[in-house]
């Protein structure tokens, strides 16, 4: 059971335990769908929907589930919410659903979600699990937003589809290709580590 204040429980997802920059979880969607800001936001929202609802459900039924079948039960709960997200997106937001392709169904295997159930929701109260899921979701969306903004601006000269670079700008096509995702993520992880080391030295 966590003993942090609720505010600290929320804030840890933004930086100290940020799923992408600090825990390196959920790398597959982070690399795959961040070629455009709209895709990054849509993936972030879909994963957050699944994470928040799964965390609440798992925290509410944790005492009923025998330890031996807990992972199987969590996966069924997660898969249910993923399927709901997938169908709702296909019905109401078909262009985004198409752009995200197989990555929405793949939220089932996103380590952030199963990881939070195993590490947090199954050991804490419903309220605390909800705050934790909200924090982790915000951290995940922020990471996707940063990555996709850099990639879309440099790779296409646009932000959310709007031209932001002048006619002098020649798009760096590599940034919207897979290689650009790895380069951007690598640089951002380096920056995150440098900041972390500096703050740790400051504390010492």
């Amino acid at each position: 059971m966590s003993s942090k204040s609720l505010t600290a429980e929320y804030l840890k997802g933004l930086w100290d335990e940020n799923p992408v920059f600090r825990q390196l979880l959920g790398m597959c969607p982070v690399l795959a769908v961040t070629n455009a800001v709209i895709n990054g936001i849509a993936m972030g929202l879909a994963a957050s929907f699944v994470l928040i609802l799964s965390s609440v459900v798992v925290a509410s039924i944790k005492k009923l589930i025998p330890a031996q079948v807990r992972i199987a039960s969590y996966i069924v709960v997660i898969a249910t919410f993923v399927t709901i997200a997938d169908r709702v997106m296909a019905a109401y937001f078909p262009p985004i659903s198409k752009a995200l392709g197989p990555y929405v169904p793949l939220i089932v295997v996103n380590c952030i979600i199963l990881g939070r159930q195993e590490a947090f929701s199954s050991r804490n109260s419903v309220g605390r699990a909800l705050i934790d899921a909200l924090g982790m979701s915000t951290g995940f969306i922020l990471a996707l937003l940063i990555l996709s903004s850099i990639r879309e601006v440099l790779g296409a000269g646009t932000f959310l589809g709007y031209q932001v670079m002048g006619p002098w700008f020649k798009p760096w096509i590599i940034m919207i290709l897979p290689a650009g995702a790895f380069i951007t993520l690598g640089i951002l992880l380096g920056i995150a580590l440098a900041i972390e080391q500096r703050t740790r030295r400051g504390r010492a």
Partner: protein
């Protein structure tokens, strides 16, 4: 309750509740998803048969559907063929339009694909692939130009460009179009295109 019985009970309950929830979601969304699909097909027909105001489904079999595009007065403008087949990684669904005599290909559009992003996925890209499919001569089977040409003008009238690094995806699309054209001619000859005959 013994541990095994509890495990079976919990998993069954979790499965049952999830299943029921999903069937409700399925019921609520299926109709809309189907409607989106039909709208997308209609939009694609107007792209591959320019000037189309209304469209009629003429013939349907597995992985192959023929539509007729008509102008405001009901005059036939050509055929739109919706076909699906295996690409490099997964199913590719495409549509192309021809004139009523099946002598000219207007254009091609890709409706669904899961090819390699950045390579095979370029089959949806107008600049890299689709513009090389415009106004092609269908008096003989279409062939692939390899290595790729730089502009549509460099290609022969029945030649299609390859995407560098994604030859298989380009070939699969070409095969699907050629096979569909053959099939279209056969069913036209057999008089199965109903209204147009």
């Amino acid at each position: 309750m013994s541990l095994s019985a509890r495990m079976i009970f919990v998993l069954t309950m979790v499965g049952l509740i999830s299943g029921s929830l999903l069937s409700v979601v399925g019921l609520l969304t299926t109709e809309r998803i189907e409607l989106n699909r039909l709208r997308e097909i209609e939009a694609a027909i107007t792209v591959v048969i320019p000037g189309t105001v209304t469209s009629v489904k003429l013939y349907e079999e597995e992985k192959f559907t023929v539509y007729a595009g008509q102008d405001g007065e009901g005059m036939a403008l050509g055929y739109a063929v919706y076909a699906s087949g295996t690409g490099f990684q997964d199913i590719i669904k495409l549509m192309f339009g021809t004139d009523p005599a099946i002598q000219r290909l207007n254009s091609l559009t890709i409706l669904e694909q899961k090819e390699t992003p950045g390579l095979g996925a370029k089959i949806t890209d107008a600049l890299a692939f689709l513009r090389f499919w415009e106004k092609k001569d269908l008096s003989r089977p279409l062939t692939l130009r390899k290595p790729a040409a730089g502009s549509p003008e460099e290609l022969a009238t029945s030649e299609i460009n390859t995407i560098t690094g994604a030859t298989i995806s380009s070939e699969k699309v070409l095969q699907m179009v050629n096979l569909s054209l053959e099939r279209l001619r056969v069913i036209k000859q057999e008089g199965k295109l109903g209204k147009e005959e």
